[in-house]
Symmetry: C2
């Protein structure tokens, strides 16, 4: 493509912000949308075009990336009053990067295409640090024309773009399985570190050694550090996993997912205890309280 | 040390075999002990000294590495009739590489030292492939004299030797936490792959993509491949995790370990269904059967 597309990013949370900044770094004119004034100011300071209004941002965009929190919000920004689809020009590519029920991803893609647009079912993974550096992984499904038109934008935000099929749904299915593992691994990291503290192990040493052993996971490395430091500043919040593991258990229906159910119960209990907006590693504080011990960062 | 020590390895299972072969490769004279005739023949063919009898193997050894299956067996080969401690010369270093209750590791080390020997509480991790190449990780605790005398042997079998303290127990504590994570991660991999199959995902693709995402774990990469290939040849068996997660829940006592309990219940159920000696990834077949689907390698 000789001319770079114009992008819009709807939702400048931790992942959307990283995507928007990565688009700017690639020289792509980018419209950013959020409801938070301070975030819009910060985005303008980075050289982006800031909008409080979805339809304004989407009017001139070639590629619209949706980074809102859940499927309901995605449906609302796409098709609600002042929504993106009605405002966009024909042929615009909509990339839904939100973790949602695969069945909903299929439905939204069909409605986007029925409106004369192109759709990519494209949830992302990698965490906020990799989002910032344009090194996310995208689990994507959609037609070849959509990928062709969105290529420059996807390459700007991700080092791995998996094309999982022509039809929407496969991206959200793989993301759902990823979230099953991620949620169980966070809860397992919390259980491991809390039991380690209970039996008197030094948590920093435990965190270091396990990362060289077969018990390691991406989440143990990442969230384990939050537990060692007692830092529960939310990169991804407890309530995200109440949502995502709820999608897993809901879509699994009668299929057995006992570990997902056990982890979901912990995230729900942590949320009910007032930790819903803390970092998801806060399930460790829940387990510590139940076990009668004190972790770093606990009063 | 100008002169290399003589080593004995008791138990030539997947990890012990790898350790014994790595010792030979380092030029260390190594006595191997096993009850299986074919394994002893294979070890002799590699240049080792094969013994069916523990006391014969330990009489001339400077360092004895114990790689039997569990704490009961370790106690038996150390202190039972024809045991290693009675046969060894004063000052021999005994390295217990077996996963066992931390309290038992402390007890064995105290009895080893009371007999005039040196003790290292040194469980290992890394899997059979890394054992074969001398790249295990050792979680070790013991006195400086013991580490000095065993150094050449430990360096021959491991790329990482963590010294976790002067007193026995810390090694087994860290290993127990590692097994908590490993067991939960194997069960989570089984749950993820089985749900993926249920919703129609290609398992090879799912396994590849997740390894680039935040849902990855060492076990998902390693055991997930067994599930994709339908190969349940035991590298580490279901019954090992019945034992190891049983240690976790037993030592945790009243401290909450809900994910360990959920995973343990799955391994127990798989063992009761006749899969105890299959690869631990066989919990996937249990979940598949419960969910009414067929994985690769299932009839």
């Amino acid at each position: 493509m000789s001319k770079l597309p114009t992008a819009a990013v709807i939702g400048l949370g931790s992942m959307g912000w990283g995507a928007a900044v990565s688009l700017l770094r690639a020289g792509i004119t980018t419209q950013g949308v959020d409801i938070r004034e301070d975030v819009l100011e910060a985005f303008a300071a980075k050289g982006g075009d800031s909008h409080a209004c979805v339809s304004d941002a989407c009017a001139g965009a070639d590629v619209v990336l949706i980074f809102v929190v859940n499927g309901e919000q995605a449906e609302d920004v796409l098709f609600g009053a002042g929504g993106a689809v009605a405002a966009a020009k024909q042929g615009t590519v909509f990339v839904t990067c939100v973790t949602m029920e695969p069945s909903r991803a299929v439905d939204l893609a069909q409605r986007i295409e029925a409106a004369g647009m192109l759709a990519i079912d494209g949830p992302v993974s990698g965490g906020s640090a990799k989002a910032l550096t344009g090194e996310m992984t995208i689990m994507a499904a959609g037609r070849a024309e959509a990928f062709d038109a969105a290529e420059a934008c996807l390459d700007a935000i991700a080092t791995k773009v998996y094309r999982l099929g022509d039809e929407a749904g496969k991206g959200s299915q793989v993301k759902m399985i990823n979230q099953l593992l991620a949620g169980v691994h966070i809860a397992a990291a919390a259980e491991a570190m809390t039991l380690g503290a209970k039996i008197g192990l030094d948590l920093g040493m435990l965190h270091e050694v396990i990362q060289e052993c077969a018990g390691n996971s991406w989440m143990f490395g990442n969230r384990g550090a939050h537990i060692v430091e007692g830092d529960y500043t939310p990169h991804s919040a407890v309530d995200i996993f109440v949502k995502d593991l709820g999608i897993v258990t809901g879509e699994a229906d009668t299929h057995p997912v006992p570990l997902s159910e056990t982890a979901l119960a912990l995230f729900k209990e942590a949320s009910a205890a007032g930790m819903g907006r803390e970092d998801d590693a806060a399930v460790a504080k829940l387990l510590a309280t139940k076990g009668g011990i004190t972790l770093p960062g606990m009063a």
